[in-house]
Amino acid sequence: MANLNISINKLKFKNPVLAASGTFGYGIEYSDFIDLSQIGGFFVKGTTVNQMEGNNYPRIIETSSGMLNSVGLQNKGVDHFINNIYPKIKNIRTNIMVNISGSTIKEYIICAEKINELEKIPAIELNISCPNMKYGGIDFGSNCYSASKVVNAVRKVYHKLLIVKLSPNVTDITKIAKAVEEKGADAISLINTLIGMAINIEDKKPILSTVTGGLSGPCIKPIALRMVWQTYKAVKIPIIGLGGISNFKDAIEFILAGATAIQVGTYNFIDPTISLKIINGINEYLDKKNLKSVKELVGKLIF
């Protein structure tokens, strides 16, 4: 049994396998399938200051090795989370982290301030990269100036672990990564979904109500992996890698490319027990390679 413990700043994780925001609900939805205390942690659904209805149906279409979605941050708002959901999940023995979004800097600040008060939430993940928001969202993540501004503002009011989740829909991800590192981000998650599209050729209309949507699943893995690798070389803060991970081999690839931890997203829909299988797989791999700790693997790509 190798040691799977990792830490990001002072926050300890029992293993590097986390569940991605928007694919894991509030965790409890998975409690019929897995013992949540066995995973390293999870990110709850994107939370905003006010309730959001999300986009119109249809919001989903399958693609080769993946799917496109245009959910659009449907959630009942941060106060609903604090009053109705947090009490039900706060005693789950793993790291519960909140993914927050906003359409203005003020909204990010309000959300972060409120979540900062919650004793059992040790970290937030700033989503500056959701492609399904009409206003803001994507804009913050798509250039260094706005990305720095929002991270700078949130850093001032948020005193625990601040993770910033980056958009892959940019020309040079390392520039954005460096910009948010400079403004005090403690870690970076990447990647969010890639913007994509599908058309019904019979009626010549787009399939998603929003025309474009976010592509996720195994089809985006090579791009995600490349971005983790590039970013690993560009910044000093830890990276949490995600995008298409569906088995332990994918997870090891991300770790070799420089990820300290990984997240499983869309594949949770296909196999809700996948995170436990990945944890076991990493363990066996480390034993086979005679490694004592998963930390010895981070960024150890040989080239």
Partner: protein
């Protein structure tokens, strides 16, 4: 209700005409409680081309067996039609809420189970369930042609069966919603499943005559257990996930133009 995930062994795969097939699956252990109207999420092999699980209604449950009645409409259902006895399928089950049986149902009430095409799938188990509660369900099944005689003998075991076909070769000619019975007996409750236009005309009929009516929807899904928020339906109470608060829903809650 607690959800499970397990591998089911295929006992039989029965071809029904050129578009439909019936899968009989079994577990080596006893099944949890499964309600009529609930569905399962079927994991696909060859995940490159059929990435997501496919939602399929519970057609029937007996002992440790689960039956799925499936229509071939695309690559996933085609692949499923080729599965052989003793192969395994991984299912997440039971999902969704199922049909409700109002407590004020009395024995002489006329309960109609109206299905169109593959929409008849969830009605067999519902009929069995109602029959067990001593009701006498009336199946009104709308088929395209007489070749779509899906499981008719099974339906007959649990209730009285009336049929419409579009070509009139069997039963009455036309759509289910045109069936003369609907205009001659006093209908008290309707459960319906089928193509959206069919369910809308059933809903219009139910509304006109002030009849309680539940429909089963087939919104596009990713997870099937309430986490992705992809399968929403706009209702009078806001967006709801059909995989969790449905697939069965009372027409009074819907925003359909009826």
């Amino acid at each position: 209700m607690k959800k499970y995930i397990s591998d089911w062994r295929i006992k039989e795969n029965i071809v029904l005409g050129d578009k439909y097939f019936l899968l009989k699956l079994c577990l080596e252990k006893s099944l949890p409680k499964i309600l009529p109207g609930q569905f399962v999420q079927v994991k696909m092999q060859d995940s490159e081309n059929t990435f997501l699980r496919r939602p399929i209604s519970v057609h029937y449950v007996i002992n440790n067996e689960l039956w799925l009645l499936i229509k071939i409409v695309g690559k996933g259902t085609y692949k499923l039609s080729k599965i052989q006895p003793n192969e395994y399928l991984n299912l997440i089950y039971p999902l969704g809420n199922g049909f409700s049986v109002p407590s004020d149902f009395s024995k002489n009430k006329k309960i109609f189970l109206i299905g169109g095409g593959i929409g008849i799938a969830p009605l067999l188990y519902l009929g069995y369930y109602l029959k067990n509660l001593n009701f006498d369900p009336i199946f009104l099944l709308g088929l395209k042609t007489e070749n779509d005689l899906l499981q008719l003998s099974e339906f007959r075991r649990h209730g009285t069966v009336y049929i419409t076909t579009e070509n009139g070769m069997l039963g009455e000619k036309g759509f289910v919603t045109d069936h003369s019975l609907l205009f001659t007996v006093n209908v008290n409750f309707i459960y319906a499943c089928g193509p959206i236009p069919m369910m809308i005309s059933v809903a219009k009929y139910a509304k006109k005559y002030n009849i309680q009516c539940e429909v089963s929807l087939e919104n596009r899904m990713a997870c099937g257990f309430g986490v992705c928020l992809c399968c929403i339906e706009k209702t009078k109470q806001g967006n709801i996930c059909i995989c969790k608060k449905g697939p069965v829903i009372n027409i009074n809650k819907l925003k359909w133009q009826i």
